[in-house]
Symmetry: C2
Subunit: 264 residues, 2 copies
């Protein structure tokens, strides 16, 4: 969509590579020294490009950060899009999406942090088009979930208990994810609630909510541990191994012996 026709020109190519290098260096500085520590002069001297050259590509410092955030959101979106292709029941695909988000958070804490930074007042100053780029990616995430729910309903797997709407449920799930990871970022689950594995807790909460809305098969009707293992094995083999380590495909779902597994 956004890929402009030909970057064939040698001039274009140089500009592209420079753009890439600026972002790489800026990211490094942002992560190392924070928002206030990432100065444009530092970016200039670290890249070796003069400041004027950098300002040819990015209108202001905040634009650089928004561009970085867009990259991070792209990586997350790519994982979510891969998850949504998981073959099988719609609820299993939702599990895959959840696992994608979870893996992303653990595998790329730096990306998560940048996404969070780009949520602050930075948006006040960024160019409109940069902001749109970020917003579009955020919307896309919501849209993917919304699409899955719509499909689930069409296929008769999601049959609301009582009155509800797909939009309501999508909003609920997105809020849960958004808020959950914000709280985790701030360390609240651990400090205030004494929760040791907050991401695992989110797994349980998700299943409660899915059951509550009437998404079949229910938690008790299916071997979700196997589904999760399958998602990790077949959809995210590299990522899962990096996060959970060799052979530990079940590591994140709590105690392994079925008797100790949670039920509801």
């Amino acid at each position: 969509m956004a890929t402009d026709a030909e970057p064939i020109s040698p001039m274009m190519r140089r500009i592209q590579s420079r753009r890439k290098r600026i972002l790489t260096v800026a990211r490094e500085l942002l992560l190392q020294h924070g928002y206030y520590g990432m100065t444009m002069d530092a970016v200039a001297s670290a890249t070796g490009y003069p400041k004027g050259t950098i300002y040819l590509q990015f209108g202001c410092k905040e634009d650089v950060i928004l561009a970085l955030a867009a990259e991070c959101l792209d990586r997350r979106l790519a994982m979510i899009r891969r998850a949504i292709t998981y073959p099988g029941k719609t609820r299993a695909r939702a599990v895959a999406v959840g696992e994608a988000v979870s893996l992303f958070a653990r595998l790329r804490p730096d990306d998560s942090r940048i996404i969070h930074i780009a949520t602050g007042p930075i948006r006040e100053k960024g160019e409109a088009s940069r902001l749109d780029a970020v917003r579009r990616r955020e919307s896309e995430t919501v849209a993917v979930l919304h699409g899955l729910l719509t499909e689930a309903m069409r296929d008769g797997e999601l049959v609301f208990k009582g009155d509800a709407t797909v939009e309501e449920m999508a909003f609920g799930l997105c809020a849960l994810i958004e808020g959950g990871y914000t709280l985790i970022e701030g360390g609240f689950p651990e400090h205030t609630l004494g929760i040791e594995a907050p991401i695992l807790e989110m797994w349980w909460i998700f299943n409660r909510l899915a059951d509550a809305y009437g998404w079949r098969p229910y938690f008790r009707e299916w071997d979700w541990e196997e589904t999760l293992a399958d998602v990790r094995r077949n959809l995210f083999p590299v990522e899962a191994q990096l996060v959970y380590g060799e052979g530990c495909w079940y590591g994140d779902m709590g105690p392994k012996h079925p008797g100790a597994r949670r039920r509801f």
Copy 2:
């Protein structure tokens, strides 16, 4: 707790009043011109105090904003604390808390915005003690909810269906609130999902989740509309009137005729 012994000294008094005035003016500027538009020089000239005097009280610009956020969080906390005193079933008190948060969001959008601003990279620069002040108030909110759930369980009103923990549920509810209002702030429910009354949707989601965990009385077992009306009438008469208008105590729960009311 944090109220220092005596502000009796006339000197102290002057300092306090000045501190207050600085915050008032800074708030105005922050809301009007955003983070980048609120300059310390502007605060100085608008208050009439020289810059040096302002820097006697606040170490840096970010400290001023954190102090503003602490005030906003205090106001929200006060409403939540009032809500928790609602006499009756624990789940009804949870409804009161939810209504407190909802009223706050509608009644004080400016406060909500400031709380949001104080979530960004501003924290990188603020003094540790200021940051602690904000964090303490955030924790307190979580603690109130956690306490209510604990009480509910002790009284036998909250009996988990299957395995769950109070902490898990508290985390879920907090995530929902946190994420929900973040999404609302960004306009997502409206733009991406076409939701017209997102706060109302959160009401439904909350009830789903409370039912799912086994919090009695269930949604279908109780006249929650009456509870909500009672909360508005007796706990937040002024606030509810400001938000919903004269006599419209039921305005936010959707269609008024019972037949059209949602059920599950």
